[in-house]
């Protein structure tokens, strides 16, 4: 008897606690009036990562503020990039969402699968390339920002060794490495990249290990294409320089953070949501950069960079914006020495979207 009553007490306690959590949970669905459009978001990480997912959530909040009562938004966080994603996306589609943003590359097939089941629901898949009548794709030209930081790194490095921490070998990441290297080697032909693949978007410990390993091997600038601010912190501690990733991370490494490439999703999200409200939404492919404000540079750190260098960086931003500068201007050779972009030409979007090779001058091979 005693044991049974204990079990009952434990169960009752769990129910009460779960109830309190449920009621206080902010993601709880609000009652929505019929004319209000419901917008859903699928996040790969937590909005508190101060990187990729954080910036999508900033975009979602911007959308809510801009459109006010005509929309309501919901998000599901920490959705793994596997068959599980189908369940999460379907959950949003079934619960009456009109527009669903799936914000990571590997939700591609899952998004299309659910989209074919719900032809009336509109889908927006970030960084992908497969579309359907009710599936749009969108991405930002982050590589334009990599050109700016490549220029800065080429000028700032004293050891001519730059450490580059990367997640997975996908075109977006390879494109970033190439854009960075092309810009850095243009101003400093002696520059060498040391690349470490950590095979994770998000593992602060491992990212810190990678940064420390690179610093130990002589890198005096750390660049990252992973989501936490651990590399920047490690750089700060070791007294070397770094760039933030996805959002302004200066608060975490004020003496290392030179600038960061920021992802600005808000205006795009607001525009697409407005299109759904107005009934003008159509499937399309969007790939915006500096020009349309989808990519921005964080304020340049005046403690670390000379005013001349800041002016140069801003000139590059401007040049890319008005089209006089392109991140991939010919002549560009691949590692085998073959000419891939001719003199006077620039790489087209098709080549950029499927870029899986290193340009000449980068050591090592792209992992398969």
């Amino acid at each position: 008897m005693k044991k049974q009553s204990l079990v009952l007490v434990v169960i009752a306690a769990i129910v009460v606690i779960a109830g309190i959590f449920f009621i206080t949970n902010q993601n709880i669905q609000k009652d929505v009036s019929d004319d209000q459009k419901k917008i859903g978001f699928i996040y790969i990480g937590p909005p508190g990562d101060h990187g990729w997912t954080y910036m999508h959530d900033v975009g979602r909040q911007y959308l809510e503020k801009e459109l006010g009562d005509s929309v309501s938004t919901t998000y599901i966080e920490n959705v793994p990039e596997n068959a599980d994603a189908v369940r999460s996306i379907r959950k949003l589609a079934e619960s009456g969402h009109d527009l669903i943003f799936t914000t990571s590359f590997n939700y591609m097939d899952q998004t299309l699968e659910v989209a074919s089941e719900f032809p009336d629901v509109k889908f927006e898949h970030a960084t992908g390339f497969k579309r359907a009548d009710n599936v749009s794709t969108y991405s930002a030209r982050f590589y334009e920002g990599r050109t700016v930081i490549g220029h800065i790194a080429g000028k700032m490095t004293e050891t001519n060794t730059i450490g580059y921490i990367v997640s997975f070998p996908i075109p977006e990441v390879i494109r970033g490495i190439n854009a960075f290297y092309l810009a850095a080697s243009k101003v400093n032909p002696d520059v060498k990249l040391k690349i470490i693949w950590v095979y994770s978007w998000y593992d602060p410990g491992k990212e810190a290990d990678a940064a420390n390993t690179l610093i130990n091997q002589g890198a005096d600038i750390i660049v990252q294409h992973t989501d936490s601010y651990a590399p920047c912190q490690a750089a700060e501690k070791a007294g070397v320089l770094a760039f933030g990733q996805a959002s302004n991370q200066e608060a975490f490494c004020p003496n290392a953070h030179m600038t960061a490439i920021e992802d600005i999703w808000g205006p795009y999200y607001a525009a697409k949501a407005q299109a759904v409200v107005d009934g003008t939404w159509s499937s399309e492919d969007t790939w915006h950069g500096f020009k349309d404000g989808m990519v921005e540079m964080s304020p340049y750190n005046e403690k670390l960079l000379s005013s001349d260098l800041i002016a140069e960086a801003k000139a590059i931003e401007e040049g890319i914006e008005n089209g006089t500068i392109h991140s991939f201007e010919g002549p560009i050779y691949n590692q085998a020495g073959e000419l891939v972009v001719k003199e006077g030409e620039v790489a087209d979007d098709g080549m950029l979207a499927s870029m899986m090779f290193y340009v000449q001058g980068i050591d090592g091979e792209v992992p398969q």
Partner: protein, 289 residues
Amino acid sequence: MSIELIIGILNIVLISTTPLVFAGIGELVTEKSGILNLGLEGLMLVGAVTGFITLVLTGNYFYSLFLSITSGVILSGIFAFLVLNLMTNQIATGLALTIFGIGLSAMLGKKFAGTPIDGLNPYYFIVISFLLVFLVGYFLSKTKSGLIIRAVGENHNSAYALGYNVIKTRYLTIIFGGVMSSIAGYYISICYAPMWQEGMTAGRGWIALALVVFATWKPWRLLVGAYIFGGVAIMQMNLQAFGVELPGQFFNMMPYIATLIVLVFISSNKVRLKLSAPSCLNIPYEKNS
């Protein structure tokens, strides 16, 4: 390779391996008493987040470590109550503890994610981790209390017949394991990568669990195993940075593959199996039986 480079690599290996040593040695003691606690990952995360929040609020490292340890005591105490008094299934309860810990830490830490803090020097913990392994090894093999723990883990009914308090012993070993896990978590969020972000232990609790099996429940082997796991991970990063191409995914699987090989090896021989694994591991104990 210059001396500085080698010292630098050793330095990174020491820093990145220490959480595995803490969590692993705690779990080893728990398992020696016959209890399998799969909740390490959850315990580590809650330890990490409570330590972090306390540090942000009070700015005091001592308080933050103390509260982090307290969280380990409370959570592992709940686990002990469930598996010892209510005799719930250890595997299911441990998994529940991990899932609960992941969710609880995310909820507690939401407002604190991305608050900058000053990290603590990892070397205090590194030195303590080595001492700890030595002390646990001595304790388990040379002291009466240590032998009681092992007796309880080998055969709880005989231990009971000899007059030892099985439940009390297991409460203590589970709480010891919980405290070590929360220190591992504290180390991660305060020393290793000084920050709080959801799920930041990134599977290290599971590697620590594998490590205990890999070490065949021997403290000194656990230390060696932890440094093999940690060392291989850092070496492959170094080789990559030198321009050597390596299959990185393979190295991420390495701890688990190594553990599987050890498992196959020890279970191929009945005597060897008996000598290493505590016989009563994961077997529920009814006091009056």
